[in-house]
Symmetry: C2
Subunit: 629 residues, 2 copies
Amino acid sequence: MATTKSGQPFDRTVCESLLRRRLFYTPSFEIYGGVSGLYDYGPPGCALQANVVDLWRKHFVLEEDMLEVDTSMLTPHEVLKTSGHVDKFADWMCKDPKTGEIFRADHLVEEVLESRLKGDKEARGQKVVVDEEKDAKRKKKVKETKVVKLDNAVVAEYEEVLAQIDNYDGPELGALIVKYDIKNPATNGELLPPVAFNLMFQTAIGPSSNLPGYLRPETAQGQFLNFQKLLEFNQQSMPFASACIGKSFRNEISPRSGLLRVREFLMAEIEHFVDPEGGKKHPRFHEVQDLELAFLNREVQLSGSTATTKMGIGKAVATGLVDNETLGYFLARIYLFLKKIGIDESKIRLRQHMQNEMAHYATDCWDVELFTSYGWIECVGCADRSAYDLSVHKNKTGAPLVVRQTRAEPLRIEEWQVDIDKKKFGPRFKKDSKTVETAIEALTQDVREKLSLDLEKNGKIEIAVDGVGDGKVEIGKDLVQIEKRTRVENVREYTPNVIEPSFGIGRILYCLMEHAYWSRPDDEARGPLIQRLTLKLRRLGVSNRVDDSSASIGKRYSRNDELGTPFGITADFQSVKDNTFTLRDRDTTKQVRASEDEICNAVKSLAEGEETWEDVLKRLPEFTGQEVE
Amino acid sequence: MATTKSGQPFDRTVCESLLRRRLFYTPSFEIYGGVSGLYDYGPPGCALQANVVDLWRKHFVLEEDMLEVDTSMLTPHEVLKTSGHVDKFADWMCKDPKTGEIFRADHLVEEVLESRLKGDKEARGQKVVVDEEKDAKRKKKVKETKVVKLDNAVVAEYEEVLAQIDNYDGPELGALIVKYDIKNPATNGELLPPVAFNLMFQTAIGPSSNLPGYLRPETAQGQFLNFQKLLEFNQQSMPFASACIGKSFRNEISPRSGLLRVREFLMAEIEHFVDPEGGKKHPRFHEVQDLELAFLNREVQLSGSTATTKMGIGKAVATGLVDNETLGYFLARIYLFLKKIGIDESKIRLRQHMQNEMAHYATDCWDVELFTSYGWIECVGCADRSAYDLSVHKNKTGAPLVVRQTRAEPLRIEEWQVDIDKKKFGPRFKKDSKTVETAIEALTQDVREKLSLDLEKNGKIEIAVDGVGDGKVEIGKDLVQIEKRTRVENVREYTPNVIEPSFGIGRILYCLMEHAYWSRPDDEARGPLIQRLTLKLRRLGVSNRVDDSSASIGKRYSRNDELGTPFGITADFQSVKDNTFTLRDRDTTKQVRASEDEICNAVKSLAEGEETWEDVLKRLPEFTGQEVE
């Protein structure tokens, strides 16, 4: 069960209502009725986001010397066709032809079967353990749970289906809907078979509508397309990483779950390019190898369990649980980042993707999941995308998205080489010369070896050439020579593999707010020169806000506690007399009293982390006087 | 003519080639042939952008206590229909039906007439003064200038048309195209009449395609829609400003001019909400009133001149050139921001919008323009949008986008009030009762006064009610009473006006790069413990990059000079012996030599602006020894 920072049961309704009231976030276009899956961040949410992004930049881009880029969101069709998104980036949806309602097929099957299993448990008098997230989702659609006992065999079958609900394609989901007689839960209406719905927002670039495009579904492609330029910028040195922070877009079928499933979201993605040879070692792996992480591996999940294993990342790589050092290094760095920004470390786990859950090209893939009142939420993905993306773009465009490396030791290759007497070749084959030559060049080493024997034996060879004569061509030894020679290769050319840590910043922010949330049970009442003070703080670079509302001091403290304001300065009647102020710490509610300069400097050093509240409490006199009001 | 920072003639080809080579920016999707109007920022451009955005936040959001928000880019149709963008945010385009080419109508007329005027001047043997921006644009389309002398009257007519080219609507542009026989310059093909092309990118939100939407063309609307929540967040206190930094999108017809006309761009917009009564004073105006700015006012432009007038902003407001203090305050603050980030202040001017150039609701509008090799470029707009946006959204949705303020003195209003005897009204008018009542409530004070006399005189009144009987209704004095009474209003309700400073960050970055650019004519050759040094700098929070390429030290300095790297540390053979390093200043190329710690601390204090290079040169020994290589 989700708990608050202080260990109390977490009440999502209360927390979300606070977050909206204090404008951490708010539904976009609310006065127009809102659009599901779109949210605006208000001032405190915006500031929190800016701080998390700033820490991300320092933790990754600066610390790891990454090449940050800012690439276009509008993306032409051809790029996303090549990357596979046009064909595969889709969910399956079912339509109710009578009401026009649209359901995401896998979610519908899941929710209906779970509802039936719940009804069965109730009918059997068993205790129903509620998964809060799923229960909330289900209640919105499947209004009532019918208390009906099911056959044991049916229960087992339902459970098996639910265990692998992520693995079904559209036709399979359609078959399940027919087999289990699943209908529109609200009206009991028949549904049409599932059809694929591409999740990218489509648009047309330019006035002639002949350049279809999409809003990018990830920032990764923009980084891959710039690989060659980035490699050159990095002075041809490998490995290196690029990074991009920016919005991406997914046209979710029917987004719910607040900030966790949205149609427009801030991502921070890293593409770390590495030589596929040599085991993908990482030079700084030793710095993190002793860090213990909670792993939920593939086999455990297959067995139906969600038990995690604590293990050092060094051991995880050594035992092969995590495929390689680079992947392991980033998993550790991701964990350290989350901890740094204030995520509760007991609520972090690393879940390995199932084989069928991974893209077909991926070598290994892990989700870093955070526990919230919605259950475990994927907030960061860390995948080894192999050479897939660079290869497909290279093949499509011909751009050399490769690394060329001078070999320390030249590579000597023994091979069969074919020499053609070009002077005689032209007159002999005329317009077919080029075609025949190309066919010869394409011959494999094995074939060449065999042909060299033919040439020696018969004085001629016969090869297949499509479209020339009857498809076979005879060539005499006056025209060709085949010999085994040694070729020396000084340069190695390879397509780098990509390790991709990919962060959903909005999801992380939501989890952070849940993890940081707590409330004081007995928050009672405790108790202006303001302009000069706020100017002075601003000049010191300390962001501050005046609360001169007519609310009681207690209410004002409480409002700012909810906003997360760490320190409050109060000006009272005494301030007018001797220019001293009180400074209050949010977490302990303790206060000190000192001169204007001392208070301002203390706030600055607290904000910049040079002093802790304990330090300040030691050097400035504590204030325990009467509260105003 | 555009000049470099050091006053030399500016060569755009050389500078742009440098900016692309060093990956400040690069065309997006270049390996797929690129998409015009879309660019990616590489590492140096991305870092420059981040620094400018950071300074913007400090200069405006922090310094002015603004409420920053981060709102959705995807925007439903209805919002932009209400704001006027669906109907009016369009350019006029002409199509060549044979080739399929599309021209922006105003640009085409402009370019063809300018080309003819140029040909006329050449025929008359006059010196042709070239506007570089327009000339480059024209050359792309109008391949050759025909040297043909025109009648004096025609020259005058062309010049008049060009002077007001921004004022023609589509049909007028179509008439000009017919009148002056303007055709496709490349093929001489006939063009179709201009049609409106909406500049917003359209898409569909959600799976059922029944929610059409657009990518926002500005961040402003998202701020207006949140007005009510922001006012509450600000504890109902006025005036206040919101701010938003984020991408916006415009589907330009055929963007050229590099970074200056793009389809996806970063904006930073401020919406300052102010009481329309009381002259829109600003409490901090006195801080800026003596600042001298270069104004290009409306009248001067109408006279065909571009001569600017230097004037204190205080005087500009006092004389009514700038409409009010708040607008003036922001013009000054914009100027100070541009100066702070490194814009050449001699290349800044404030151009007032012509009456017909402003949106019909605007009270006054100024463009802050920067001079570049493309001419004067609008980089910041500063408009008084009056109460337009809040009013239209309030009228459409009914949301109270207003300020309610307790009056210091209650307002006493004498007015004619109509009382209806509801008991008798129902039986008398039956189903029409409500309609008649509404018609009575809508009566103006003047009409009420007149009717009160009728009632006294005739014992009845007659009023027009659409759709009831013959459109006229008689009401006797048994049903209504009309009396003059005094009403006391304790609360004032008003719709705030909006002053909007709106920054095109990409344009500012481009201008900044042009203004900062210079090159050294004789940049000659001058001359590892690196890992420890780079780690130490990183720990100090100083972003740094190792250049360990095989290039000569001179080349490496030169590469980094082009990237704008301000300081370079060199490790040489001496460093290995005594752990001292040289530190080189980009601008003077002078160097000092000191211990590792001293060098690192000097770099940190230089980067954070605590010391200047002159300070460092005074306290650390200058290095004038032999250069390596």
